[in-house]
Each structure stands twice: as structure tokens, then as C-alpha cells.
């Protein structure tokens, strides 16, 4: 059985396993009544990224589909974005899933929660965090 792409521990001790592939992440099935204490996110290099201490968390997968030219046809998974917000600052961990040697596996960028990129995220993607 394949490893889940992330594992969550809630502040009540309950646990949740994400989907095993990027097309079925399971993020929207995380019970809203539970608060996330820790997320362990699987990295392409077999390591894990650990997130905790945020007030809320966001997750999404970025893909592209080429309509013309070569290598068209199938959606190509490019990046995972996993974010945590605390004290009006959103820390975005962009995890590289494509073969692009010039990029780091994880690119970290911070935003103010009122930045356009953050404001225009799908609100359904946010899950509450808890200590």
C-alpha cells in the first residue's frame, strides 16, 4: 500500500491520513470540527515536511494541461502548496514535483493574509489549526 501524501494529528489526539496520490488528496474530507495540531507532508525525496503551530492550514495541487505543441494530453502535476497562517502572516511551502534541477525542492514564501494571492484562494481549502 502506498504511503499517504500527508498525515495529520488533531489537537484531540485523533489522526487522519491523506490520499495516496495527488489526484485524490483527501484534503476536503478532513473533518472540519477537528483542529489540526501537526501535519507531516511527504516530500519527493522521501523526507517529510512538518507543519504545526498555525491557526489554520491550506493545501492545493497545481497542474497544467498543454493544449498544443509537444507533450500535450495529460494533466501534469507541478507543485504542492501547503500553507499555514498565524498572526496575519501566511507561510507558503511550495513543494516541487517536477524535474526542474534549478529549483529547490521546497520554496518558502510569506504573505500577508490580505495579499491578493491569499484573498483569492478558495475559502473551502482552509482548515482550522489548534495547539
Amino acid at each position: 500500500m502506498r504511503e499517504p501524501i500527508y498525515r495529520i494529528t488533531f489537537d484531540n489526539g485523533n489522526k487522519f491520513k491523506g490520499g495516496t496520490n495527488y489526484f485524490k488528496t483527501g484534503w476536503t474530507t478532513i473533518p472540519d470540527e477537528n483542529k489540526i495540531k501537526t501535519i507531516f507532508y511527504r516530500l519527493p525525496n522521501r523526507g517529510y515536511l512538518r507543519l504545526e503551530g498555525y491557526d489554520k492550514y491550506f493545501h492545493m495541487i497545481e497542474a497544467t494541461m498543454n493544449l498544443t505543441g509537444k507533450k500535450k494530453g495529460k494533466p501534469k502535476i507541478r507543485y504542492v502548496y501547503i500553507m499555514g497562517e498565524k498572526d496575519n502572516i501566511v507561510t507558503c511551502y511550495k513543494i516541487k514535483l517536477i524535474d526542474r534541477p534549478t529549483e529547490e525542492i521546497i520554496n518558502i514564501q510569506t504573505y500577508n493574509k490580505n495579499d491578493e494571492f491569499i484573498r483569492k484562494l478558495n475559502p473551502l481549502g482552509w482548515k482550522l489549526g489548534g495547539i
Partner: protein
């Protein structure tokens, strides 16, 4: 669950929304879009044109005024023997329902329509994409989901990271499934560099 994307082209003569009229779904793996002047072997209902036929039908670089390539075809590989289907509503006329992009669910962010040199999505150096400056791209699009573009519409150039089209009109992520419409054209500027370009048109989107 991942949000899936399907694309369809209006191959009829009526400017009506899908599924009315004549719409062809694009098989991303095999089908192609071809901009051409048209000619022998490169007309609606023809079979797959040869390279020689395509070269013969290629547009000439204008010397006086910009030249809009008159014909756009969908090369529909599934329709053996008559693969070329003209998308006659594409171009500067006031047509709304030309290309349709359907997302079958919500997204994490706003989808974008983009154009790149290749699958690496890190350059737009080819002449048709503006030779590094997306503002000079020959490919122009106008989002028509909310209304017709108007006669002789100008549209926005597509090229590289600086010139993309927000497919939800700048409103952000899709909350649910949505059909998004576009019109598209290719306009060659005066004195353009001769080239044979195969740019990559790309849709970029996210799911939760």
C-alpha cells in the same frame, strides 16, 4: 478529488453555447490546433494535411498592416479521413462561444490560460510569443464567458509569465464547476521574423 478539465471547440457556424450547435471535444493527447491561410488540402473536412500542404498554406509576413491569420482548424484525429474541422467563429468578429474550457469542480486558485515555448514553461523566446516580451505575442485572447467581445476586439496577448489570462476574470478561485469561454486569434505584425513556431498553449489550475 482532482478537478478535471475538458476543452471543446465550436466547429459550427452558430455562435451558441455548448451543447447547442456543433462542438467538438478536444482529445488533448492527439488533437491539434492549426492556424493557417488555408488552401489545397487544408480546408474544412480535409484529412490530415501533409507538411508540404501546411507549408504551402502558411501565411506571408505582412509589409504594410498587421495580418490576422484567417483560419483556425481543429485537427480531430478521431474523425479518420476528415480530420480538419474549421473553427470559423475564431477571430476578430464579435463571436462569443468559440473555445470552451470546462472545470468539473472548484479550484484552489484562479485558473490561467498561458502560452510558452515548450513544456518547461519557463520561456517565451519564439517570435510568435513576443521574442521574450509577452506583450508582443501574436496570440491574442479574449474571455467571453460573461459576454460577447465586440466587433474587431483587440484582446490580450498570451506569452510567458507576464502575459497570462485569468480564466475567472480576476475573481479568484472557482467555487464550483464552471464553463469558461474564449475567443482567440493570431495576428502577425508588420516585418515579423520568419519562423515555424509550435508554441504550447497551457491551462494552469489547482485543486484542493
Amino acid at each position: 478529488m482532482a478537478t478535471a478539465l475538458t476543452m471543446s471547440c465550436n466547429t459550427g457556424v452558430s455562435d451558441v453555447a455548448h451543447p447547442s450547435g456543433e462542438w467538438e471535444d478536444v482529445a488533448f493527447l492527439t488533437d491539434k490546433l492549426i492556424w493557417t491561410d488555408g488552401g489545397t488540402g487544408v480546408e474544412d473536412g480535409d484529412d490530415t494535411p501533409s507538411d508540404a500542404e501546411l507549408n504551402e498554406a502558411s501565411p506571408v509576413i505582412p509589409s504594410v498592416t498587421p495580418y490576422e491569420i484567417p483560419k483556425l482548424f481543429l485537427l480531430d484525429y478521431s474523425d479518420t479521413g476528415q480530420e480538419l474541422k474549421e473553427i470559423s467563429l475564431a477571430g476578430s468578429d464579435d463571436n462569443r462561444y468559440v473555445l470552451r474550457f470546462y472545470f468539473d469542480g472548484g479550484t484552489g486558485t484562479e485558473p490561467s490560460l498561458e502560452a510558452w515555448d515548450d513544456d518547461a514553461h519557463d520561456s517565451n523566446d519564439s517570435p510568435c510569443l513576443g521574442a521574450g516580451d509577452g506583450a508582443d505575442s501574436y496570440i491574442k485572447v479574449v474571455r467571453t464567458t460573461d459576454g460577447s467581445p465586440g466587433a474587431s476586439w483587440t484582446g490580450d496577448p498570451l506569452g510567458g509569465s507576464t502575459h497570462k489570462s485569468n480564466m475567472n476574470g480576476g475573481a479568484g478561485a472557482l467555487g464550483s464547476a464552471l464553463a469558461i469561454y474564449y475567443n482567440i486569434k493570431v495576428v502577425i505584425p508588420v516585418g515579423a521574423t520568419a519562423s515555424a513556431d509550435s508554441p504550447v498553449l497551457t491551462v494552469r489550475w489547482t485543486w484542493l
